[in-house]
């Protein structure tokens, strides 16, 4: 960026902030967002109309579904988290990243892992643990690459030029510490061949460890780093002070303490002992307020900026993101109640819940950050604000269609499975009858997902035109209220 002397990144003159790594992660984020969401829409179509698998085994639902989840969580989600961290941590710590080599190793290592996943999963190479499907050599690579990145962040924190650690850093640290612990302990396995291994846990223990991991992948991969991102980018984009410092600290500690225990709610009405099921349920209920603390601090920070929410697509994305965060963190604890779980478990309701969090919270806050960050690191004016607003509406309407449709599908199948006739016999003994009943819901869900994907494609186009444009980013930085 030799032309942009006037906007040279901060830092000391001999060690300016490293924004080249931020740019790389932004480009990777956009690429994997499009790939991951396209696969998602594709498999949504397969559920409505199976010939979409083209009769090719690599494209069947069972193989593409883990590819979709891994691509959107670890490829799109992971890359936007790293994007946001590399940009904000250098500025919050007032120091360049500790090691450029580790930054680069982290970037290329992470992309290599994603490519390996995209090859092995369609080939049917899997450990069959949800969100932890990847085979053991890739698991090993994840541990090495993630820890290399974490070391770089940790050393950057150690070398910081400020005394006070902003709350976003606390959230980032919980992510950096917890994810390796979860990943390593859930993936412990004895290799048999290069592509096959046997888990060290068996039976119920294996299931419990898996859902301790699985639930906290949601908690510490898709929640805490994203809250950290909200705490940096929402005040920056709105120019407003954070509503309550105390709330941010209290809800942080409450969240990380409570989240880690809630995993057993995935195993209600299973062979898991009753006391452990109770534990998972009550810790989930106790999570409502700590989760809502984040939503409150986000929404109340926007006080005084609501007039701008009407015109600024970035703030629109943020408001909807934070609102969906509040909605899905209320829905989750409700679904962890034994009686509700008995109806909702194994149905499409669960899929709807995950997507209101993933599309609504994670996706929307990520889009906001991409729209805010790209013009700044490339010093180019956003190509089209109205296109970004169109993206916002497409995405929002798409999520609503998706979520409502999956509620309908989930309730339909949940009630049909348990229905008995006057004689005490199953009212719908033929499973296919129930599957067929879901067809219209599947078509509508495909439509909602397609709208969301279309929006993401618009964003990719918009940001690429921004990067390749010529007009510098001239928007004055918002000044915090005094």
């Amino acid at each position: 960026m030799s032309s942009a002397v006037a906007t040279a990144p901060g830092g000391t003159s001999d060690r300016p902030y490293d924004d080249a790594i931020v740019k790389k992660f932004i480009l990777a984020t956009m690429l994997w967002a499009v790939v991951g969401m396209t696969v998602g829409v594709w498999i949504a179509l397969e559920l409505a109309w199976w010939p979409a698998n083209m009769g090719i085994p690599y494209f069947t639902f069972g193989r593409l579904r883990p590819l979709h989840t891994n691509a959107v969580i670890f490829a799109f989600g992971g890359n936007i988290v790293f994007t946001s961290m590399y940009y904000s941590m250098q500025r919050l710590l007032k120091v360049r990243m500790w090691s450029d080599f580790l930054s680069s190793f982290h970037f290329w290592g992470w992309q290599g892992i994603i490519v390996a996943a995209a090859v092995t999963l369609p080939l049917g190479l899997t450990q069959s643990k949800e969100y932890a499907e990847l085979i053991w050599p890739i698991d090993l690579a994840i541990a090495v690459v993630f820890l290399a990145g974490a070391l770089n962040f940790a050393m950057t924190i150690a070398n910081r030029k400020v005394k006070h650690l902003y709350v976003a850093i606390w959230f980032y640290m919980s992510f950096l510490i917890t994810i390796p612990v979860l990943h390593v302990f859930n993936s412990l396995a004895i290799p048999a061949t290069l592509t096959r291994s046997y888990p060290v846990y068996s039976g119920m223990t294996d299931a419990l460890v898996q859902w301790w991991y699985g639930h906290n992948a949601v908690g510490f991969f898709l929640t805490t780093p994203f809250l950290g991102m909200m705490y940096y980018y929402l005040p920056r984009a709105s120019g407003r002070p954070v509503f309550s410092y105390r709330l941010s600290i209290v809800h942080f500690w409450a969240l990380v303490f409570l989240y880690i225990w809630a995993g057993p709610h995935h195993l209600l009405y299973s062979a898991l002992p009753d006391w452990a099921q109770t534990l998972g349920m009550v810790f989930s209920i106790m999570l409502i307020a700590p989760s809502w603390g984040g939503m409150l601090n986000g929404l109340l920070t926007l006080r005084g900026a609501w007039d701008r929410v009407r015109t600024d697509p970035i703030l629109k994305f943020m408001v909807v993101a934070v609102s969906f965060y509040g909605m899905s963190t209320f829905e989750g604890p409700m679904m962890s109640i034994r009686a509700v779980s008995a109806l909702s478990h194994y149905t499409n309701w669960v899929i709807g819940h995950v997507h209101s969090g993933a599309l609504g919270w994670v996706g929307m806050i990520s889009f906001a950050i991409l729209y805010w960050l790209t013009p700044r690191v490339w010093n180019r004016k956003l190509y089209s604000e109205s296109l970004a607003t169109t993206h916002f509406w497409l995405a929002t309407i798409g999520i609503v269609i998706y979520t409502v449709t999956m509620w309908g599908a989930g309730l339909t199948e949940g009630l049909m499975w348990r229905a008995v006739d006057d004689g005490g016999q199953l009212a719908y003994p033929v499973f296919m009858d129930i599957v067929n009943r879901l067809s219209p819901f599947y078509w509508l869900r495909f439509l909602g997902g397609l709208m969301y994907l279309t929006g993401a494609l618009m964003m990719a186009f918009n940001l690429i035109r921004t990067i390749t444009g010529t007009e510098p980013h001239a928007q004055p930085e918002a000044v915090p209220a005094k």
Binding site: S88, R91, L92, K94, V162, K163, H164, Y166, Y232, P235, R236, P241, V242, F243, S244, Y245, R246, L247, S248, V250, A254, Y269, D274, W275, Q277, T278, L279, M281, V282, F283, I285, M286, I288, A289, P290, W292, G293, L296, G423, G424, Q425, L426, P429, V430, E477, V479, P480, A481, K482
Partner: protein, 268 residues
């Protein structure tokens, strides 16, 4: 929210320009948090130590309630009155005819009106075979699907027809419905109603062979196909559709199969 001070903490210098207010925790938020903690502890204590609930306990209670509501009566003796047999005939048409034939003369499944009984011909043996199925040969376990009441009816019908020894009039229902007034007259509709169970929804083959590959076991001309459908291949389980569908419909569905095959093989 009266305790809001909106006093800035002065962290902006260290927070990349982000200021923070020194506001207190909102009362209702703190109240909600404390309430969920108290509720959580209360629920756990109540569940395990006061009421002594457990999922095994719920299961047993539900089973007891079900046993009370739907007492497991000793299997009723089979009744052979006209109403029962007629009801059995209807069930047979919906569930059984696709394999055992509309006239009970067999198809994929064995003939039920000849002199041979593979799994016993006594009424109770027939009822047991229906209830438990013969999964290894493809006969489903109908017990949990139909329930004892419907099984008693359909067994009564089978026993009645078996005694008559093969003079059964084709049943109403799935198969016979093709002779009704709302008869489908497109090849696709006839195929869907009669053939998909064995040849697959897309003719890809299931129990019966694929109809969309290049291979024809019994000849692939339109005449051959018409002939095979009409006379069936009873030794392999293909029903003789002649008396069931009639010449006209067989002509239509044979043409449909022939065209679909041409289209599919042309693609490859």
């Amino acid at each position: 929210m009266s305790r809001e001070t909106n006093r800035l903490l002065g962290h902006a210098e260290e927070n990349d320009g982000i200021e923070e207010y020194d506001n207190a925790l909102p009362d209702w938020w703190l109240g909600l948090f404390i309430f969920t903690i108290i509720w959580g502890i209360g629920y756990a204590v109540e569940y395990h130590f006061v009421s002594g609930r457990s999922q095994a306990g719920y299961y047993e209670a539900e089973m007891v309630a079900a046993a009370e509501k739907w007492p497991e009566s000793k299997p009723q003796a089979l009744a052979f009155d006209d109403a029962t047999v007629a009801a059995g005939k209807e069930i047979f048409g919906q569930q059984c005819a696709s394999c055992h034939g509309a006239a009970l003369t067999g198809g994929i499944g064995p003939n039920l009106v000849d002199a041979t009984w593979i799994h016993g011909g006594e009424p109770e043996q027939i009822r047991a075979t229906i209830t438990n199925g013969v999964p290894e040969k493809g006969m489903p376990t109908w017990g949990p699907i139909l329930g004892p009441d419907k099984i008693a009816k359909v067994a009564a019908y089978v026993v009645t027809e078996a005694k008559k020894g093969g003079s059964a009039a084709p049943v109403d229902g799935q198969v016979a419905a093709t002779g009704g007034t709302e008869e489908p007259m497109t090849g696709e509709a006839i195929f869907k109603q009669n053939c998909v169970a064995c040849h697959g929804e897309n003719m890809q083959g299931l129990v019966g062979p694929s109809l969309v590959d290049a291979e024809w076991i019994h000849g692939g001309t339109l005449e051959d196909i018409t002939h095979t459908i009409t006379n069936g291949v009873p030794e392999k389980g293909m029903v003789s559709w002649g008396p069931i569908l009639g010449e006209e419909k067989i002509g239509i569905v044979a043409k449909y199969v022939f065209d679909q095959n041409q289209a599919a093989t042309a693609q490859n």
